[in-house]
């Protein structure tokens, strides 16, 4: 999987029929130290992620193993909102529990 930071959402009225009803979020890939890797993905949000969240994205055809994605034209599924990243003995990220 890839770690990514949600930076925005994509609104698209004209799109593949089978994408209808799904939230599409733009995530910038980050390193375990939360540095931007300079690449992004548009992923289908399956875990109610929000802008600013750190998430896990499954790429390629494995993305269609995510819940409900079997027959969808998707190669990037957001499958987890990250609470904590522990890397080389340090906590490099901890999600602040902002009440929604």
């Amino acid at each position: 999987m890839e770690l990514g930071k949600i930076v925005g959402n994509v609104v698209a009225t004209r799109k593949n029929e089978r994408l209808k009803g799904y939230k599409l979020l733009v995530a910038e890939y980050i390193t375990p130290n939360c540095e931007l890797k300079g690449a992004h993905v548009v992923g289908v949000d399956l875990v109610d992620a929000g802008v600013g969240d750190i998430v896990l994205i499954v790429r390629g055809s494995s993305a269609r193993t995510a819940e409900g994605m079997t027959d969808k034209p998707v190669d990037g599924s957001i499958v987890a909102v990250v609470d904590t990243i522990e890397y080389k003995g340090n906590i490099t990220y901890k999600k602040r529990n902002t009440k929604k």
Binding site: T65, D83, K88
Partner: protein, 87 residues
């Protein structure tokens, strides 16, 4: 498969239900001389490895087969712990 070392962990409570109970590690890829090469990857643990374990991992579609008896939404998985590499 490729050699790697477990160097960290990702904790998530809000996740795809198929990932419930799955342990997600950060793996530093190694070359055949066990030197660190390339960027860390995120992989589901399939063999009860732990921080510092010398392992080997798979990537791509096969990542969905990392856990016994169920398919999971994953594109990388740890599938073995290395005891030693004989030269």
């Amino acid at each position: 498969m490729k050699l790697g070392k477990v160097v960290g962990k990702i904790v998530s409570t809000m996740k795809d239900s198929q990932l419930k109970g799955a342990i997600i590690f950060i793996v530093q890829p190694l070359n055949e001389n066990l030197e660190e090469v390339g960027e860390p990857i995120i992989a589901v643990d399939g063999v009860e490895s732990h921080d510092g374990s010398l392992i080997f991992y798979i990537q791509g579609r096969e990542g969905t087969l990392t856990l016994e008896g169920r398919t999971i939404p994953s594109d990388a998985g740890i599938v073995g712990i290395v005891d030693r590499i004989g030269k």
